[in-house]
């Protein structure tokens, strides 16, 4: 079944024709060219494909695109700040050396954002839990966790959303 739908992605409404079976990750990557969202397993096991749907960290590889109508989707591309500056979470990832191959990074950043949106001052344990579904094979997680701690502090200080 094909159908025309509208999706609100990063504040922009896209009208597009999709198949009912299309998964959000494929619509983002293939139909819209938003390739920042990565696919590492397609089965929910790595969370590289994490985006926010109505604020919640969501695996786009297990989400039907059609079920996202009327919801607000934010992908890693949507974190850009005015003038192209990095979001404080992104900035912290860069400066802490939390990025090696970078394939897990968009998913990590989106998981971190979903956490900090709800819980601006998370404990170390809460940070670990928030990214416990996100596999990173390169970094050993340490710098990612530190980056999220630093981002939390910066964001609280600057009141960034």
């Amino acid at each position: 079944m094909k159908q025309q739908i509208s999706l609100d992605i990063n504040g922009r409404v896209y009208d597009l024709v999709i198949s009912h079976r299309d998964l959000l990750v494929d619509v983002l990557r293939k139909k819209l060219g938003l390739t920042g969202t990565k696919k590492g397993c397609g089965n929910g096991d790595c969370a590289a494909c994490t985006v926010q749907v109505d604020g919640e960290p969501t695996l786009s590889c297990l989400t039907l695109a059609i079920s996202c109508q009327g919801k607000k989707i934010i992908t890693v591309e949507g974190l850009a700040q005015p003038g192209g500056a990095l979001h404080p979470i992104q900035e912290a990832f860069v400066n802490q050396g939390a990025i090696q191959c970078g394939y897990c990074t968009p998913g990590m950043v989106m998981s971190a954002k979903a956490l900090l949106d709800k819980n601006p001052k998370p404990t170390l344990e809460e940070i670990k839990l928030a990214i416990s579904g996100n596999l990173c094979r390169c970094t050993g997680y340490k710098r990612i966790i530190e980056a999220i701690e630093i981002a939390a502090a910066t964001m609280s200080a600057q009141e960034v959303k």
Partner: protein
């Protein structure tokens, strides 16, 4: 991997949903969080013509508690909501804890408690504590509603007593006895994203002497085709004074009842050992907690 082509339907009222589910019957699958169903469909283990998304029906969602009457949990309530609900944490700690141990953050924000039960995987996280807490399921259809103890609803691996046209709409949990405690534990190789090789939950109460066991409901997961409600452990414990020797008897009884298998996650031997060791750990933990209330 891609799913088959299907038609997606998203009713917004219970009536619409019952009508669709009734009319489409086995041609349709119900979709909640999709964390099981989409994986199964991608693997072509199921290829329905219709997918009926019930997440937009607000009547199927949410946690309601009334003092003295117990709790109802809507079938499409997210696992994360159960995990973080203060009232669940207070009244049904075994369930809140089990919910917190399911998958990872994303899966808990997507997956629903109804989906976890209806997926009917023997290693499922929440059915075990739900059964221990005496949960009933409400199965609704255009024709009306029926209630069933959860242990009777799940009949086997991916098998349910769900009649055509029915949707699981909510769980009913009885008010816990004020002196009772509930606990959950599991074994797996990691601390996150772990499909349990054994899990178990207990609902436990002591007499006023704080020694004699008044009530036990003890449930094992992942060691049988469905949540296994122990008959022998309560028979051994109720009316007896808690002691290490008694616990050892319960351990042996639990091991006798469990029917684990060997698979890629663990061997039968290990599962059986775990039944023993975790039974010991869980009963002691429950006893210690029950003395404090």
């Amino acid at each position: 991997m891609y799913t088959n082509e299907f038609e997606y339907l998203a009713p917004t009222t219970p009536a619409e949903a019952f009508e669709l589910v009734g009319r489409l019957g086995s041609k349709a699958r119900i979709l909640a969080g999709g964390t099981d169903l989409v994986v199964l469909m991608k693997d072509k283990l199921t290829s329905p013509e219709y997918v009926i998304d019930i997440k937009n029906i607000k009547e199927f969602k949410g946690i309601k508690y009334e003092l003295g009457k117990g709790m109802t949990i809507g079938a499409t309530t997210k696992i994360s909501e159960v995990q973080y609900s203060e009232i669940v944490q207070e009244k049904y700690p075994a369930l809140a804890y089990a919910a917190s141990q399911l998958g990872g953050t994303q899966v808990r924000h997507m997956g629903t408690i109804g989906g976890n039960t209806c997926n009917a995987s023997p290693s499922g996280e929440t059915p075990t504590p739900l059964v221990a807490l005496g949960a009933k399921v409400v199965l609704s259809s255009a024709a009306g509603e029926r209630e069933l103890p959860l242990e009777d609803f799940i009949t086997g691996v991916r098998r349910l007593d769900l009649k055509e046209g029915e949707i699981l709409t909510r769980f009913i949990l009885p008010e816990p006895s004020p002196k009772s405690v509930s606990r959950y534990t599991y074994a797996g190789a990691r601390d996150a994203m772990e499909i349990d090789c054994v899990n178990m939950a207990v609902n436990f109460e002591l007499e006023d002497d704080k020694e004699t066991i008044k009530y036990v409901k003890f449930v094992l997961g992942s060691v049988f085709i469905k949540p296994l409600v122990s008959k022998e452990v309560p028979a051994l414990l109720i009316g007896q004074k808690f002691s290490d020797a008694l616990v050892e008897k319960a351990v042996a009884a639990a091991q006798g009842e469990a029917k684990p298998i060997s698979d890629v996650r663990a061997s039968e031997w290990y599962r059986n050992e775990m039944v023993g060791n975790l039974t010991r750990r869980l009963l002691k933990e429950a006893f210690a907690a029950a003395r404090e209330v």
